[in-house]
């Protein structure tokens, strides 16, 4: 199909043009009277071309606002679905294929099978984001470039039907006899300029325009969104994003997986509101309302022997972590997430006493998580032959450990030294008094117990880990770009919303007949009022309301 797209003013318009790019004459509906659709100034979008090739069809698909709205709607629905049940990445040690069904029943199973348990990391969610991004870019380009072209070469004298079919219209005669068309126009120029308009005139016609830049607002906000989306996608690059949950036992530097960093929870504090501090309705119910979760954290960087039991650590940062006050170091963020009471002995500072001479050696540290193998104290050499974090005896009387947590630690030493057998003698040491009694340490150590004793001086020598603090460790290198995109977005929104692109066209025909058309991107009341004031100063009295197209002029 071949359209004749040449306007009567001689301008060759692209296929799809609604209003002649040059004179503004309506091309489709030449004889109508309804106000014109001024969107994009009636220009043809880029994708509107004859004989589209495949690439044009793809382009046209993404340039459609309808498609964009559908995509945004789908993404919105998907995002909502993702909030129904907790997402997989919020669990520490859970097999999602079992968890959802076990916790939520059939709907949970369905949720997992549909892939909604990892909505935001799924390929189809990312595909939706990519398609929205494509749509943003293509929609914008398809409109902004022709619009820019159309606005940068506007004709001053517009077609009569373009003017009278604006939403703000005035038609009348020159205010006083004797005034010429040219001098009337000249008189208007300073009035319009005073109001901030840029004025172009060619004798008997005039174009006044202001705040054209507000038209670029939507496109700038789209650029912001595209930066935002790209930044979100960049999180997929290796090292750009990390989001994991790790437990940190008090006093034990623990490696943050896949990083050279170790974090030590030096002290965890949980404080509850006292009864007096609680609001009326909470009192007397025995409710524990937490006031503070705090992890006193020290961050170390591993310099050598990483991933061994004894890495070389260098302190790089120290900070108290509280809810919503994460630890920040370079790209690393550590948020307070959870805690658990895990009372256990972390280390004991023991001394060895030679009961014959009453000499005491030490103190030396026995670590309950990674104990050393040998200890040399004075003339004595202690070799740790075995160690049970939670000592127990099975039905055959064979010792074993119930768990890997040092809840009932037992150290089995072979001690060599003065007064002892040459190969050494076995000494079993239970740091906890309860265990000493329960497993009758003195009986087990019969023989050696008269010569040697191992013990702590006071509770000062026992280090106890009372809490495990769970932290959410994050890295988000994309965050500054996300903020940057957000700022650009806001600038675009403000440009487009706060300012209005206003244009006033005036032409005088037959030396007497004034026709005025005006257009604004929004706030029609404002432009009518402004035009009425300007015309009033030029000697034409007209109420703002009368300027509205279709309202009879007095």
């Amino acid at each position: 199909m071949l359209h004749n797209t040449k306007c009567e003013c001689g301008h060759q318009n692209p296929v799809g043009t609604v209003l002649c790019e040059s004179c503004g004459k309506p091309l489709d509906d030449e004889f109508g009277t309804a106000p014109l659709e001024m969107r994009y100034d009636g220009i043809a979008r880029r994708s509107q071309r004859e004989n589209p090739a495949l690439i044009d069809r793809v382009w046209r698909f993404f340039s459609s606002v309808k498609v964009a709205i559908i995509l945004i709607f789908l993404t919105l629905c998907a995002s909502i679905m993702g909030t129904i049940y907790p997402q997989e990445n919020t669990f520490l040690n859970v097999d999602p294929s079992v968890y959802y069904e076990a916790t939520y029943g059939f709907s949970g199973k369905l949720y997992y099978l549909l892939g909604l348990s990892d909505t935001y990391g799924s390929w189809w969610y990312k595909l939706l984001l990519i398609m929205i991004g494509s749509s943003l870019i293509i929609c914008s380009l398809d409109r902004v470039l022709p619009l820019y072209r159309a606005l940068s070469k506007q004709q001053i004298r517009k077609h009569m039907s373009f003017l009278v079919r604006q939403r703000v219209v005035y038609q009348g005669q020159l205010p006083a006899t004797g005034i010429t068309a040219v001098s009337f126009i000249d008189g208007l120029v300073p009035l319009l300029k005073k109001r901030g308009y840029r004025v172009h005139s060619d004798g008997t016609a005039l174009l006044a325009e202001k705040h054209r830049f507000s038209r670029w607002g939507p496109y700038i906000n789209h650029i912001g969104l595209i930066i935002f989306l790209l930044a979100v996608l960049m999180r997929g690059l290796p090292g750009w994003s990390m989001d994991q949950y790790t437990g940190f036992l008090e006093g034990v530097p623990t490696q943050i997986e896949n990083t050279p960093y170790y974090l030590e929870n030096e002290k965890f504090t949980v404080e509850y509101y006292t009864e007096e501090e609680l609001p009326e309705e909470f009192r007397g119910q025995g409710r524990a309302v937490p006031k503070l979760f705090q992890t006193k954290a020290i961050l170390y960087e591993c310099t050598a022997d990483c991933s061994s039991d004894k890495p070389d650590l260098k302190q790089v940062h120290q900070q108290n972590i509280e809810v919503n006050k994460p630890l920040k170091y370079k790209d690393l963020l550590a948020y307070q997430f959870d805690f658990r009471q895990t009372i256990q002995i972390r280390a004991v500072n023991v001394s060895l006493t030679d009961k014959m001479s009453n000499q005491t050696y030490g103190p030396f540290e026995l670590n309950t998580i990674t104990p050393d193998e040998t200890y040399v104290e004075g003339p004595y050499v202690l070799t740790l032959k075995d160690y049970y974090p939670e000592f127990a005896l099975n039905d055959k009387g064979v010792p074993f450990t119930n768990s890997k947590s040092p809840l009932a630690p037992a150290f089995i030493f072979v001690i060599q030294g003065p007064g002892l057998a040459e190969d050494g003698e076995v000494f079993i040491y239970f740091p906890r008094d309860v265990d000493k009694q329960r497993f009758s340490q003195d009986k087990l150590n019969a023989g050696i117990v008269d010569k040697i004793d191992i013990g702590v001086g006071s509770m000062q020598d026992v280090s106890i880990s009372r809490f495990t603090s769970y932290l959410n460790i994050r890295t988000d290198r994309a965050l500054p770009y996300i903020f940057f995109g957000g700022i650009i977005f806001m600038i675009g929104v403000i440009m487009g919303i706060y300012w209005q692109h206003r244009r006033i066209w005036i032409r005088i025909d037959d030396e007497n007949e004034i026709t005025i058309g005006a257009h604004t991107s929004k706030n029609w009341f404002g432009i009518r009022k402004e035009l009425s004031v300007i015309l009033g100063k030029a000697g034409i009295v007209v109420e703002p309301k009368q300027l509205e197209n279709g309202v009879k002029q007095a």
């Binding site: 097999d95 390929w123 494509s134 293509i138 990674t370 075995d386 119930n402 890997k404």
Partner: protein, 176 residues
């Protein structure tokens, strides 16, 4: 006009290619970077762990061999009770192209050494700190992963193995 048109086409093609590359990369990364838990039939994730003998044990070095990786700890009673059986089969299959690896999780060195002495173990014990365990999605101990000659997971067995099971599984795998 024709120059203008060619320019437009150039812009379109560039933008579509850029979208295709960025989108393709993101999706491919999402689809193929398989950080999900390996299942029977999937490729066994590579690992390299230090042994108690200070050697490094790397899975890919055993290509062409059957690997039996047993995740265990001295704190896990069924692990302890199946260990003599594993040791027994380690001896039996030592020269039959089967590599046993006892992957210990988080035990203190002292405890492992004492355990090895107590049970007279000679099979290679390697030390893991939840890294390989998480990669393999092991939730319970003991878990034994049977990896075939091509590096694919043939079977994942949770819980204590008994002799008939271990014997028939190894017989099946070695006869193929």
């Amino acid at each position: 006009m024709s120059l203008n048109k060619r320019y437009k086409r150039w812009v379109q093609v560039t933008i579509l290619i850029a979208i295709f590359i960025v989108g393709g990369f993101t999706l491919a990364d999402n689809l193929f970077s398989d950080d999900s838990i390996p299942k029977e039939g999937s490729k066994a994730p590579e690992f390299s762990l230090p042994g108690l003998d200070d050697q490094q044990y790397q899975l890919s070095n055993y290509k062409g061999k059957i690997v039996v990786a047993n995740f265990w700890g001295t704190y896990c009673p069924p692990c302890v009770s199946e260990m003599p059986l594993i040791q027994n089969y380690y001896e039996k299959y030592k020269d039959k192209n089967v590599q046993f690896l006892a992957i210990n999780e988080n035990d203190p060195l002292v405890s492992i050494k004492a355990f090895i002495r107590q049970y007279k173990l000679t099979l290679p014990v390697v030390l893991d700190k939840d890294v390989v365990r998480r990669e393999y999605g092991v939730m319970n101990y003991p878990t034994t992963v049977f990896i075939n000659e091509n590096g694919k997971i043939e079977m994942i067995y949770e819980g204590e193995m008994d002799e008939p099971f271990l014997s028939s599984t190894l017989a099946d795998m070695t006869s193929n």
